[in-house]
Subunit: 322 residues, 2 copies
């Protein structure tokens, strides 16, 4: 049973009912396309194709109501789905939100989730176009993202990395795992203030919108995002492409703030870098220079698996659901 922080007060879902709760969502995340049996999206550009992905977030597993604000939960749900759209080289245009929530959920909490969604979809000029709200024992969010893939270049699948290409990244690596470790040790309110960027990277990750489209336009070959862990996700590209990937340790070394958090916690920051997922950093391969906003972190090589400076990584595990 999900427990909501006491400062979310006011009427509950059970008190106001489904229709007024949906009104609260639509008011917080408005779209003229919402409110019918299904949402009709815009005419897309010539030859464009629709791209779709979905992710489910369960309270207590993918987020915690005592660590994240509802706004952050909404932001995270959008970013992790939109990162998958961007990882194809496509542009996110719409999101759908299905929520299961207990009757004792404050409407203000649901409104907060919708506000967080609205903030992030707005950064992409996208909209929340539809959804479903139902009663459940636990708070569960299921977000679907829809994107548009224009132009004639192929989409950025996992299987097009080739030996000799550069491995590039856009975004931080290991920050989300560091934030999670800090939350586990201190709880949200007691994390030392200088680590706020790490906690926020975990609770409400943020990407610079449009980097996936830019990477595809400037010659990226394969792309994914760091959702399960750096080694695990690059390992998927390596396996699907039939290649090896060698990372340069200096280019993926823990950021000073991450190293500082590790020292405080007595942890190895390299574990966060190699195994920590949920950064949703874009990871791509390219035959050219790093696309704008990306930095080089290694090379595609003949062989298989992922190495660091030619050696097996110390940490290889990633997120697993079971």
């Amino acid at each position: 049973m999900t427990i909501f922080p006491a400062h979310y007060s006011g009427p509950t879902l059970g008190e106001v009912g489904e229709h007024r709760a949906i009104e609260a969502i639509i008011t917080a995340a408005p779209s003229s396309r919402n409110g019918d049996d299904a949402a009709v999206l815009n005419h897309a550009s010539p030859n464009s194709r629709a791209v779709a992905t979905t992710d489910m977030l369960i309270e207590g597993r993918h987020f915690r109501a005592d660590w994240s604000t509802p706004e952050e939960i909404g932001q995270k749900a959008i970013v992790q789905n939109f990162a998958d759209i961007e990882a194809m080289g496509a542009r996110p245009i719409a999101a759908l939100l299905a929520i299961a929530a207990p009757p004792h959920t404050p409407v203000s909490y649901i409104r907060g989730i919708a506000a967080g969604i609205n903030e992030r979809v707005g950064e992409y000029s996208a909209e929340l176009v539809g959804g479903d709200l139902t009663s459940g024992d636990h708070l569960v969010l299921s977000v679907t993202a829809i994107g548009s893939l224009g132009g004639s270049r192929p989409e950025l699948t996992l299987d097009r990395a080739r030996p000799g290409q550069r491995v590039v990244a856009h975004g931080s690596i290991g920050w989300s795992a560091a934030g999670l470790a800090l939350l586990e040790r201190f709880g949200r309110d007691a994390v030392p203030e200088q680590f706020t960027p790490l906690v926020e990277a975990h609770c409400a990750p943020r990407l610079n919108p449009g980097r996936g489209v830019i990477a595809r336009a400037t010659g990226a070959t394969a792309m994914t995002d760091n959702s399960d862990g750096l080694i695990a996700d690059l390992g998927t590209i390596a396996r699907r492409s039939g290649v090896g990937i060698d990372l340069h340790s200096a280019d993926v070394a823990p950021a000073p703030l991450v190293a500082e958090a590790a020292e405080l916690l007595g942890a190895d920051p390299w574990e966060w870098v190699m195994s920590g997922g949920e950064d949703h950093t874009l990871l791509a391969t390219t035959a050219g220079d790093p696309p704008s906003g990306f930095r080089s972190i290694g090379r595609v090589v003949r062989g298989d698996g992922v190495t660091i400076n030619g050696e097996d990584p110390k940490y290889t595990h990633g997120w697993v659901s079971f």
Copy 2:
């Protein structure tokens, strides 16, 4: 905690892990578009627009593992989402499936859900193109359907019914509610055999694919599906269109099998007809003759609300989540 029927045996999700379970899903419901960060859909026809909708199904609320087979659960999840796509006059082309399931869930059970999904999407020439599988205490399915809306006619929104138009329906009305009442009384195994069509209408509703497209092509104006209840759903069209709807009692009268079930249970079959949802029968308005496969059930009139033979309906409540 979801309890699975004993005859689903073999390895569990907790034993085989996420990746092998996803393999089982993809094998049961194959698509070449599945398996990357996001699914890229086909080039659509000129000027076509994407249409999207989502619905969440929770074990114990929207279905019961002791009443429905996993195949039926998958079928129901698709039909209720595809009905929303059809209700816009669009053609369903793809589905995404997010599942939360306990670690003790047999993989054979998940495979059954995927097989049911595959059967129904196949009837529409659609595909299961992506999804998510995560661990949760309860079995929760969240399905997103994506459709394609071709041609230049407007989509069939809820607000275009006009006085003088016919109200038409494709599909049965009240069958799902009758089936649910029989299940509640007898449990699945003890429902008298002659009522199997009613039980199946509840556990695995079925629509004749393409009726939404046909209705739009032949002049339908507004459309929805009977998901919350006949009076409730037509009431939404009436309210959004600023009109009244008068049903002809003879045209919505309970089918003989529904009446027979009501007699056995001592129930009023008209309650199932008026208030029972989940038939996913398409309900439309049109200025012309009923589209192929549809029958006339009433008229759009000046005024507001829904009446039967000019009088207030005896039952008006519909499904509410809270």
